[in-house]
C-alpha cells in the first residue's frame, strides 16, 4: 500500500500552531506523508519554511496546484491550514483541479463562499473533509453511532458548549498572533467566538445528533473593551424534529482551556462527552451511570477500525485529527479503486461547512435583532 502524498497550504508562519499539528497528524500513521507545501503567503518566506519542514516548497498555492496539473509533482490531497479568510480561494482552486481537500474550519468567511465550495466538490465528486478535529475522537464517533442506532431513542434536547478563558483580557493588543487574527473581522469574518469555537459546539450538537438546526435565537456579547467582535456566544436553536439545542461558547471563562462537550437527551437515555476527558462517553439510561471506554470492543467496526491502541492507553488530540486524515485517505483510496479499504466514517464535509456558516450568520443577525428567531 503506497503512502498517500500530502501537500499543505499555510502553516509555515512563526508560531503557526496548526501547521505542526497537521504535520504530526499526517505522519502518525505510516500510510501518509507530507511532501510539499505552499506554507506562507509571501513566496520567499514560503520557500524558506518548506526547507525547514524538509518538503518541496512552492511560492504560492497556485504554483503548487499548477505543478500537480502539469505532472511535475503528484499529490493525493491537500490540507489547508491558513486563517479563516484564506480558506476559500485555495480550497476552490484545489477542488476545481480535482485535488481532494482537508480544510480547517470554519470553512469560509461567508455562506455564499461555503455554498460555492459545496457545489464544486459535489459536481466534481472530489473528497472534502472539514477539520472539526473533535469529531475525530472515537467517543464522539461512538456517540453519533449510538444516536443513529436509536440507542437513546428520539432526541429531545441537545446541549453543546465550548468554554475558554484565554481572551478574558485584550490579549490581541499584546501582539499575540492567534488572538490578533481571530479578533480581526477582516481575517476572521463576522464572528470571533461563534466562528472559532461556537462552530465546534454547533457541530457537536448537529453532527452527533444527526439533526439540523432550523432557526436560532441568539445573544452575543463583547465583554472586553475595545474588541469589535463577540467574545461570548449564546444560542437557543430549534432542530428539525422539534428538539431544542442550547449552544454556548465563551472566551472569557478564566481558567477553562478547551472545555468543549455535549449532552444529548433522548426518549430512552442520555449521552454526555467532554473534550478534556475525550476517551470516555457517559451513557445514562436510568438506574446506573455507565462509562464507556474506547478500545474495549464495545464499539462498532465503523469506530473500531480507527483505533490504534486497546482500552486504557488513551489516544487524544493528535490522533483525533489524524482520524480525519484517515477519513479523507479512505475516501481517496476507495475512489482510486484500492481493495480492502475500510469504510470511511461520515465526518464533517461540505454540508456541515455550509451549515456552520449559516449558523454563525443567523446567530449574528438574531443577536442584532434582540434575539429574534432567525432561520438558517
Amino acid at each position: 500500500m503506497a503512502k498517500l502524498r500530502v501537500g499543505m497550504i499555510g502553516g509555515g508562519g512563526p508560531g503557526n500552531f496548526f501547521g505542526m499539528v497537521h504535520t504530526r497528524a499526517i505522519s502518525i500513521d505510516a500510510s501518509r506523508e507530507l511532501v510539499a507545501g505552499a506554507l506562507r503567503s509571501d513566496a520567499k518566506a514560503a520557500l524558506r519554511a518548506a526547507k525547514d519542514y524538509g518538503i518541496q516548497g512552492f511560492g504560492s498555492y497556485q504554483d503548487m496546484i499548477a505543478a500537480v496539473q502539469s505532472g511535475d509533482i503528484a499529490l493525493d490531497y491537500v490540507t489547508i491550514v491558513t486563517p479563516n479568510f484564506a480558506h476559500y480561494d485555495p480550497a476552490k482552486a484545489c477542488l476545481q483541479a480535482g485535488i481532494p481537500v482537508l480544510c480547517e474550519k470554519p470553512m469560509t468567511m461567508t455562506v455564499a463562499e461555503a455554498q460555492d465550495l459545496a457545489r464544486i466538490a459535489k459536481r466534481k465528486k472530489v473528497p472534502f473533509v472539514l477539520a472539526h478535529t473533535y469529531t475525530g475522537h472515537p467517543m464522539m464517533m461512538m456517540a453519533k453511532e449510538m444516536v443513529r442506532n436509536g440507542d437513546i431513542g428520539e432526541v429531545r434536547k441537545v446541549e453543546a458548549w465550548y468554554n475558554q478563558g484565554w481572551l478574558a483580557t485584550d490579549l490581541e493588543k499584546s501582539g499575540q498572533q492567534q488572538a490578533a487574527w481571530r479578533t480581526d473581522p477582516k481575517r476572521t469574518g463576522i464572528s470571533n467566538c461563534g466562528g472559532d469555537i461556537g462552530t465546534h459546539a454547533f457541530v457537536a450538537a448537529t453532527w452527533v445528533s444527526g439533526l439540523a438546526v432550523k432557526k436560532v435565537s441568539a445573544r452575543l456579547n463583547t465583554f472586553v473593551k475595545g474588541r469589535v467582535l463577540d467574545d461570548d456566544f449564546n444560542v437557543i436553536g430549534e432542530m428539525e424534529n422539534g428538539a431544542t439545542a442550547i449552544i454556548t461558547a465563551t472566551q472569557i471563562a478564566i481558567g477553562y482551556k478547551n472545555d468543549n462537550g455535549f449532552r444529548i437527551y433522548g426518549t430512552k437515555g442520555s449521552l454526555e462527552w467532554h473534550q478534556e476527558a475525550a476517551e470516555k462517553l457517559l451513557v445514562r439510561r436510568g438506574e446506573h451511570d455507565e462509562t464507556y471506554w474506547i478500545g474495549t470492543g464495545v464499539e462498532p467496526e465503523s469506530v473500531g477500525s480507527y483505533l490504534r491502541v486497546p482500552a486504557g492507553h488513551h489516544e487524544d488530540f493528535f490522533e483525533a485529527l489524524a482520524n480525519l486524515h484517515t477519513t479523507i485517505e479512505r475516501l481517496i483510496r476507495k475512489k482510486n479503486g484500492e481493495k480492502g479499504v475500510p469504510e470511511a466514517f461520515d465526518h464533517p464535509g461540505v454540508d456541515e461547512g455550509v451549515a456552520g456558516m449559516k449558523f454563525v450568520k443567523a446567530a449574528v443577525e438574531s443577536s442584532k435583532k434582540k434575539g429574534a428567531w432567525t432561520r438558517l
Copy 2:
C-alpha cells in the same frame, strides 16, 4: 440555651417526602425541636398524622396559629411544607400573627402574593426564610462570600442549571403524588419545570452572584404528550450590571437526578459548583485549578460557624436544609435579644421569593412571545 419550638404546616400526607426532610433538619441540631403541626388539610387526617409524628396536632393551621396567639402553645417559628398553592395563605397568617416562617419554595403561586408576603414580613419585621435548600450548602455560601469579597472580580457571565430525568415519561398519570401536583396548574402555578427547579437555578445565578436579573428571553418546552405545563425551561437573562445569565432546567434528562449547579465567570477568576458533589467548590484563576473543601479553615467565620464536622467527612442534603433552620434560628434568637448568637447568613428570604416569582412569570410570558425580551 433553650430549644426553639417549631411548628409545621403540611408534611403529613402519605409519602410526603418533605415533611420528614424538615423534621430531620430541625432535629439534627440540638437547639430546636418540632413540637406541633397542622400536617394535612383534612382535620382528622391532620390529627392522626401528628400522633404518628409524636407531636401536638392541630386540625388546621388556623387552629395552630390561634393556639399560639391565645398562649395555649408556644412556637418560635413555623415551617411550611405544603405544595406550592398552599404556601401563601398559611404564610400570610403566620406573618400577620408575628410568627417567623421558614417556607418551602417557590414562595407563592403569583407575584402579587409574593409581594404581599414581603410587605407584611417587612412591615412587621418578622423573620422569613425561603427554603432554597441548596443555598444551605456551605460551599454555596462560600461562593457567595468569594464573589462578595471580589475574589473573582466583576461578574461577566453566570451559568446555572438543574437537570432531572424523572419526568421524561408521563409519570403523573401513574398516580405518583409528587409528579401529580407538580404538573397540575392548579396546585403548582403557571410553570412546572421552571417553578420547581428553574427557581433553584435562578437562585444560584442571582443569590450567589449578588446580581439581579433585569429581563429575560425564554423558551419553554413540553416534551411529554398530554402534559399541560413546561417540562423543559431555558432562559437567557440580562443582569443588572450587564452580565449575561444562562439559566436552564429540564425534567427529561434521563439518568440525571439532581444535577443542579452553577458557574460564575468574573474578570479575575471563575467559580463552579455541583449539587451532587456539594462539598467541593472549584476555583479557577488561571494556571492551576483549585478545589476547595469545606472545613479546612479556609472559609470565613460567616460560613465556618455553620459547619458540624471538619474536612473530609461530608455534610450534605439534610445538613444544608438544617443550615436554613439555623439561619432562622439565629434571626429569632438575635431578635429575642439572646447574647452570643453568631451572625445569621443572608440566606434567601422574601426578596428572593418575589424575584423568583417574577422570574418565572417573565419567562413564561417571554416564551409565549417567542422569546421576546421581558422585564422582571
Copy 3:
C-alpha cells in the same frame, strides 16, 4: 411507635467531636431520643455537661446504670463515645446489666478485653453494635450484599486504605486534644494509626468481603520525631479463602482528609468505593464501568429500608452513623417483640470488634519481627 430512649457515656468534654456527632445521629430519625448521659469522667463536669446537652445527667456511668437497674430511669440502649481506653469498663457494665450498647471503635485496648465483651454479649444475648461509621454508608452495605450474592464471584484480592494528613507534624505537642489522646499509648493502646484508622480499612476489607484475615505481615512506621506510636501502618494479609488483602493507613499524607476506601477484585468483577464520594459504588465487570447511585431502586430491601432520600440528594456522614443507630434500634425492637420492624443489617458487632483487636495486635507484633507472618 414509642421513641427509643438513649443514654450516652462520654462525649461531654470540651471539643469532644464525637459526642455531638452521635447526638445528631440519634436525633436525625424521629424514632430515638437522647435522654441521659454520664458525659465526663469528673462527676461535677459530667453533670454540667448534661445540663448543657439538656438531658438528665449522671456523675458516672455506674450511677447511670444503677439508675436503670433501680427503675429510676428507662434506657433502651447506651452509646459509648469515650476515648479507646475507656470503652471496656462501661461496655462491660452495660452488657452485664443487660443494656444494649453502641460502642465507638476500636472496641477495647486489648484482645482479652474484646473477647470478654463478646462472651458477655453473647451469653446474655444483648445487642451490641460497633460504631464503624462508614459501614453505615448505604453503598458500603450495597457492596457487602453484592459480594454475598456472588455478583463479583470468588474474592481474590482486597485493597483497603485510609489516608490522612493531619498528624504529619507533631500536632499533639500543641495541646490539640484529638491528637493528644490518640498518640498516647495509655489512652489509645498499642497502636495509633493502626487502631484509629487502620481498623477502618480492616473492617472495609473483611466486613464487605465477608472474609476473615488469618495472618499478616506488617510494617509500621513512626515518621514524626518524638512520637511513640505508629503514624503509618502497612499490612499484607492472607484471608481465609487464600485471597490477599493489602491494608494500609497513614496519617502523614498531607492534604488528604478522610481518604478511606476499598477495592475488591473477584473472579467475575470488581467493586470500588471511596468514603469521600460515599454515595457512589463503582462496579466493573469488563467492558463498561458502572456507577451505582444510592436510592435508584437498584438496592435490595436490606439496604433500601435504610434510605431517607431518593437518588441525587446525598446522605453522608451523619446519616451513615445514624444507620448504625437504626441497626441497634431494630435489634432492640425485634427483641422487644415489636411487629413490622424491618430486618437489621448485619453491621459490625462484637465479633468484628474482637477481630479488629487481634488484627492490630498481630500487625504490631509482625512489624516488630520485621514483617514475619503472624496469625490473628
Copy 4:
C-alpha cells in the same frame, strides 16, 4: 536539521502492537524517521515485514548492525521492541557497535545481563534509553522536577500501583500472543506481573522520587490455575532515606485497564498522578487541592520543551513514548555536537534498568521466603 535515521529490531510479528506504537512515536515528530528494520527472528518473515513497513529490511539484527558498521546504511539509533528474552543480545550488539539504543522494558531477563549492558553503555558512552513509556508523560516529568526542587519536602512514603484485569482468566491458553509470551518463563523471565507492570510501578516510585529502594518484603500470587508465574505482585520496600514504598501490581482486577499511578507523600506536601488521566497532576499542600495541567506555563523549561500543544488539548500515550524518542534524539544530537539542542530530560536508562531487574529478582526471592526482607 537533518532527520535522525532509526532502525527497529522486532516489532514485525502478527499483531505486534509495540512495533506500530514505536513507529508512530518516531514519526509524530518531524525530526526522526524509521528507515530500516530487522523486524522478526525468521529472516524471510523479517524481510517481508520490512516491505510492509516500507523500510529497508534485514534478515537479522546482526545483518543490520553489520550494514551500519560497513557503511552500507546510516542509522542514528536503534529501537528494540522484541519480547523480554530477546532484548539483551541485540542491545549488547548495538552498544558494542556504538549504536545508541532505545530499548523496551524490562531491560533483560537477568540482573547479570542488565549489569552487562550498563557496563558496556557506560564504557563506550553510548546513549541508552529504557522505554518506560509513562515517564514520558509531561506530568510525570513535572512530578520528578517538583520532588527534585523540594516542593513537597523530604519524601516519607511512596505508593505506586498498576492494576489490570486482562489476565483474570487463562487467556494464554486461547493462543492470544501477548498473553502467551508474558506468562511463559522462557520468554518473559522469572516474573510475569512483576516484570511486565510491577516494573512500571517501581519506576514510578523510584524515578519520580529520586530515591532507590534498598530492600523489599514481597508477596506474589498466582490466582489463575495452570499459570506458572505470578499474576499478582505486592511489595513493601524500604527506600534509601528510610521512606516506605508500597508497590503493587495485579493482572486480575477485572475491568481495570492500565490503572497505573503513584502518590508521593513528603514533609511539605503530596503528589498524585494517574496514567489514565495523565494530563493532570494533583498537588496537595494542605487546605485546597490543586490540579496542575500541562501546558499552562507553570512547568519548567525542562518539561515545557517537550510539549507539543498548549493546555486543554491533551497529549497522551503516543506522545509520551515519542518524548522518550526525543530524549535519545537530544542525547545523540548533543553528542554529535549539534548546537541549540535543548537539554535532554533524565529519563530512565541503564541504571534504572539494572535497578528494575534487581527489584524483580529480590521480590521473587522474598516471596519464596515468606516475605523475608531481601536486599536489592
